[in-house]
């Protein structure tokens, strides 16, 4: 009974705190701040108020604030995961090679306990993406981990730019070419799929504009797909493209160049290291795995030094999870770049903070400890890049969402009354693609 009460109280706390902005102030004292953008500050305090970082400095005080003594502890900005599929009920509308009109933000599921588990690993923002079944998949949602909120809308990061999923290579080729026997079945077909989609969107737009300007009486048949594609061409949506091989990445950059599209972040991009100079010259971003490889042929020629090589070549790089297990220890994934590529502490930490924030266009809000930014912070026992570290507290918008000491264990928000007991799942350790979730090949 006590546990239920605790959970209930916990939920209530969230409910209140997220429907209203956090009123309470939190003052973290004597911490080692890993600010990311302004070096490491020892024995420093940080005050969180009204959901924002109010101030950073020595000997701060604030009446009525909850004080947390962080002597000997490390405080870093909330971790940003630029690639996940957590918190949504549908991942792939795997029926058409082009589904720009669909939007995973329409199917947010705030009750997934995976969100809480990510919080327990210090992740405060994630990019819930459409899957990689289609060349042009759906639009994605940048999500704040306000776990406990029951309304799906509460998880949306208000003001975050729109993003969309593209995908190259084996996945769309397999789903459409191999399985449905329609184009694209090859990397040649992939290129033409993009070119056709953009070209048709432009024709549609010119017809629609003519109608709106009164030049033509009859409108073309409205197409949310074409409208969305045009938003991409106009630069209103950041492309996040699932990709592996160097050749296909070069192909897409050429297509984008032809349409004057500038904003793109390549996801996974296992062979990015081969064309790091080209990516840097284009201004493309890269969001990579720390060490996943060899689970399919297009990632056979990979290296765990990818992030380091890209970083050294000036590509803004992040490390993502694409997996609800990895998502819980992105700090550990980032630290692998120190074994594989000797990145400095700050370079490694950038991979999971400010860099993914830049890739999502939310770097003014999150990704570093700076005055005025969102109060998304994680307190670590031990340096976050050490194997002996532990996230002990995660704060989102100034609300404590995870507290190692007071963790109530059963953090489910949605109880199925008909279920016998929470089901046991055998461990299945399968790298192959959360990106392909919901796709049934036969």
């Amino acid at each position: 009974m006590f546990m239920i009460y605790k959970i209930f109280a916990f939920c209530l706390l969230y409910f209140c705190s997220h429907s209203i902005v956090a009123q309470e102030a939190i003052l973290i004292k004597n911490a080692t701040l890993l600010t990311i953008t302004d070096g490491v500050k020892e024995d420093t305090d940080i005050l969180l108020k009204n959901g924002k970082i109010e101030s950073i400095g020595e000997n701060l005080s604030y009446g009525g604030a909850t004080e947390i003594d962080a002597t000997g502890k490390f405080v870093m900005p909330g971790i940003v995961d630029a690639h996940s599929h957590v918190g949504i009920d549908a991942v792939n509308e795997a029926t058409n090679p082009v589904t720009a009109e669909v939007f995973v933000g329409d199917a947010i599921n705030p009750y997934q306990v995976a969100i809480y588990r990510a919080l327990a690993g210090g992740v405060t923002v994630s990019h819930a993406m459409h899957g990689s079944a289609n060349a042009i998949g759906g639009q994605c949602e940048t999500m704040k981990h306000r776990y406990g909120a029951l309304n799906p809308a509460a998880l949306k990061m208000e003001g975050a730019p729109r993003t969309i999923k593209f995908a190259l290579g084996e996945n769309p080729m397999r789903v459409h070419g191999e399985n449905k026997k329609v184009a694209p079945a090859s990397r040649m077909g992939m290129e033409q799929t993009f070119r056709r989609a953009f070209a048709e969107a432009k024709i549609y737009t010119s017809e629609m504009e003519a109608f709106k300007a009164g030049k033509s009486k009859k409108a073309p048949l409205y197409s949310l797909r074409s409208e969305t594609l045009m938003d991409i061409i106009n630069g209103d949506i950041i492309i996040h493209c699932h990709s592996y091989r160097a050749d296909e990445i070069l192909m897409l950059m050429k297509v984008l160049e032809d349409y004057g599209i500038e904003k793109i972040c390549f996801q996974h991009v296992n062979e990015g290291f081969k064309i790091a100079p080209e990516l840097a010259a284009f201004g493309a971003y890269a969001s990579v795995f720390s060490d996943w490889w060899a689970y399919k042929f297009e990632v056979y020629y990979s290296t765990a030094y990818n992030a380091a090589i890209l970083t050294r070549n000036g590509v803004i790089t992040s490390i993502n999870s694409d997996d609800r297990e990895l998502m819980r220890h992105l700090y550990h994934e980032a630290s692998k770049t120190q074994r594989y590529g000797n990145l400095t502490d700050n370079e490694a930490l950038r991979l999971i903070t400010i860099n993914p924030a830049i890739q999502l266009g939310i770097e003014k809000r999150v990704g570093s400890l700076e005055k005025g930014k969102d109060a998304d912070v994680v307190i670590f026992e031990g340096h976050p890049l050490s194997i002996y570290c532990k996230p002990i507290m995660t704060i989102v918008d100034g609300v404590i969402c995870f507290d190692y000491v007071n963790d109530p264990s059963d953090m489910r928000l949605d109880i199925d009354p008909s279920e016998e007991l929470p089901a046991f799942y055998e461990q299945d350790h399968d790298h192959e693609d959360s990106c392909m979730e919901g796709v049934h090949l036969h």
Partner: protein, 548 residues
Amino acid sequence: MNRQLNVNYIQLFILFNVFSLPAICQIDYNTYKKPGGSIFLDDVFIHENGDKRVYKGDIIIRDGIIEKVGLALKKPFDAITFTKDSLFVYPGFIDFHSFIKNGEEESSSKKSKETNVKFPGNPPDVVAGITPWRNMESDFEGNDGAIVNLRKAGFCISQFSYSKGMMPGYTSIFSLGTKSNGLLESDKHLFSQFKGAGRNYPSTVIGIIAKWKDLYRAAKIANNYKKSYDNSKLGLQKPTNNKTLEALFPIIDGESRVVFNMKKKLDIFRAVDLSKELDFPITVINIKGANPILNDLPINTFDMVLSSDLPKKKTDIDSSRLKIDSVYKGMLQRQEAAIEDAFMMAGELESLNKSFAFSMSGSDPNQLKANLLEMIHYGLSPSFALKALTQFPAEMLDLEDVCGTITKGKLGNLVLSQGDYFSKNSHIIGVVIEGEIIEFDGLDEKDKDNEMFKGKWDFLAKTSKQKLEGTLNIEKINKEFSIKIVTEGNKKMKATNVKRSKESIHFDLEMDEQTLSFDLVFEKNKYSGKLTSNGETYSLKGKKKTPK
């Protein structure tokens, strides 16, 4: 048999030779006209609506319409009188939504052929589950099993729709009388749900929502164009013929609303957000388990229709484990809390003064009353419950002039209950639908018998060769009887070929490659009967085991 043939010949004769005569001349001697022009309910307890009651009142129904309600009315000369002790009369219940299977059940081979299109990303609307131009008008069959069940639960009116895909069509509202001409309205609401088209577009909830936006906005443009074209055709191309888009015009013009069927509680948010974004009114039906999110929902911006289904209370609790396993205990407690939450939702809505109706498309009408009683136990008032079955759905269906209360001028739709409907021991003995009295013969009596069979009984069967001793275990699972013999040695044997009549049960047991047939007659706490094996008959009897 001969007579039957004769009748058919007569019919054929009439059909072929007097073809020009009006249909009234066709005669079917399998039916006959019932006497009387009106119905008189004498001295009954009338619940005119959720609040107003008349004790020992009378009701006169003529031509399917309520002519008079009041005290000590004069019985019309041509009336059939209906009277019974402690008869409680309620307005006919209104089911907000049900499915009829007619026309939807296609053979699987035909189905796969139809859905196996060349470009799954761009299938024809029919394959995509988008058929808003359809309605249920021609698919109603008054004696469909589903409708019989609805009537037995007290429903007199229901709104029906097809069930396939994201936008199966418009709903049609029917009176549930046995005649097939019960249509009240043919294109009432546009029915929609988050149900994908399998391997075709749209297959997921995100695809469906995108498709909705796409269709709706396209329809808006088409609607505007059609209006200006209708206004002046000069110099304008004629509108593109697109029956899908045209079917959305009534929604755009505010003449109709969308009924969203939900499967899980997040669907409510999705439907509400979609309706807000596209700006059309909606009704969300089959709402279940939404109690925790009531505060998060803008409940005054949409109509709510609850599923009458409730989760089952835990019966299989492992009490020995409960004592030692704190994790198990914790889980169980959370689960029980969730179950209670489900039971409380209706009452919670009443306390928020939010009117709602019930839909039966996701639940078993036979369970309606039991579930209502649970809801009442958890805070719903009987009068609000009655309104949710009558007045509220009438309002939501814009039928408040036609039904929902027992009022002069409205349809003669009544529920006849032996005893207070909201008490445990009452049962519905019949309904009146547009003046047609439909009585249910002894159904509830039978149900009582069911109760009588259930339980554990002594069992001792002897033949010349075999002896079987143990417990006779009779359970009711999903309306079917399951009979097991558990022998002394804890060996279990399951009976086959179970048949029952009002007081007796027949079943077979396979033993040593022989079939033993039992016919047992039950009486309160004992039974007696016979056992047949190899052409020989033996008698047996037993008593009910008293639970320790």
